[in-house]
Symmetry: none
Subunit: 225 residues, 2 copies
DNA sequence: GAAGGATATAAAGATTTCGTAAAGAATTGC
DNA sequence: GCAATTCTTTACGAAATCTTTATATCCTTC
């Protein structure tokens, strides 16, 4: 039985040390990251069984890191936070956090919640690369290849094609896409979508006038295949 | 979209009422049980999407009920308790509870944890496909396949065939269909229906002159099979 | 089997939705 | 601080879809 790996993302050295000792003495293998950025890179290079994410990080808000991780990481993420306000908890859970614990937490409870979270880990589709014919979309590296050639896509363009790739074959409504990419205030800005779908098609489609990957479902949204 | 069912097992009538109102106003279907025994029976006869289990029950300890449920019930169980002691939490989680909330809890947090728990119940490629011989209608992806080949259908056409698929074998009156697809002001626009049924038949039927899927019930409506 | 109401089909007209180009605004990188 | 890139907005022609009309066919009932 090899040890389950847990990645701690927390900027406080003391907290990392405390958590590290606790977890190691309970037979977990511990990985650590000081910043969100570093955490994402570590998680990508070697996906752990569970991530403990402090939400009060210096570089980005923990919520952003959580969203970023959840674009491809589908194992458990437990949020640790000094915050105990409801909005924070609700946001984290709705962004895909597995659990939320307020600091200071009780060790035995933390361990029990970790056991529970690991037990429930779904069989992961551990590939972060979505393959769609001549296209390969790497959700971690944030790259798009067409016939093995790297395409130059902007950040928003990538977010869009990443969303498509993660929902291959199903129709996504305009509202849904706009909410996911631009946020809840933009759900009626359908024109944004038209422009960005247009520029994506120019890049990924053999013939942009007759798209084979991004199909428009008139009156509803788009479908990727 | 039918409502997710939640079973509340709690001996306090007030708490059941409070939870019931909260959940129902958030579009869940609520089932209630006063005792653990009753709860187990209810859950067995009609497994809900999630169980809210109070741990301070009179007949058996909630922990026993939890264990009993977990022998066969594998969806989410959230524990509610006035207790906030660590042993209790750890025991519950190790017995397979999905989550543990101490009373009094905050409503928004409870709802977020319920959403999270239900979300995790679903298998990643959760599709609800209606199979009708050579036709497969995917209600989530909004796609129609005939002999495994994607058909191009417009938004209204899909809404129509989706309504048919969800009421397979049943005669739907003109008025009902018109109300569902176009809204209450259109219940007499029978000609709309004729046109759209016609175009659907052209796409899905082997021989549109002798339809096998969308059957005309003259003077009444249509039936899908 | 004939009459009359109900249904089917085709096609024209009306409306909505889409795609593209391009200009202005904001952001990023050097 | 300037140039380059990216994002947001506007405008307009093109395409797809929906609605309506006309006419042919089918079905039921007597």
């Amino acid at each position: 039985m090899n040890k389950a790996e847990i990645l701690i993302i927390d900027d406080e050295p003391q907290m990392r040390k405390l958590l590290g000792i606790t977890l190691e003495s309970n037979d977990y293998k511990v990985l650590q990251a000081e910043t969100g950025k570093e955490g994402v890179i570590q998680a990508a290079s070697h996906p752990p069984e569970l991530i403990l994410l402090d939400i009060g990080l210096p570089d980005k808000s923990g919520h952003e890191i959580l969203k970023e991780l959840r674009q491809w990481y589908n194992k458990s993420i437990i949020i640790l936070s000094v915050q105990n306000n409801e909005t924070d908890i609700v946001t984290a859970l709705d962004n895909g956090a597995t659990d939320y614990l307020s600091k200071p937490f009780r060790t035995a409870e933390l361990l029990a919640r970790i056991r529970s979270a690991i037990r429930r880990n779904q069989t992961p589709n551990d590939t972060s690369i979505v393959d769609a014919g001549d296209l390969q979309i790497d959700l971690v590296a944030r790259t798009v290849k067409k016939n093995n050639q790297l395409l130059k896509v902007t950040s928003t363009e990538f977010n869009l094609i990443s969303l498509f790739a993660r929902n291959e074959g199903r129709v996504l409504t305009h509202r849904f896409i706009l909410k996911e990419i631009w946020g809840v205030g933009y759900q009626t800005e359908t024109q944004y979508l038209r422009v960005f779908v247009g520029s994506l098609r120019k890049k990924i489609e053999e013939n942009p006038n007759n798209p084979l990957h991004i199909i428009t479902e008139s009156g509803v949204g788009y479908r990727f295949q």
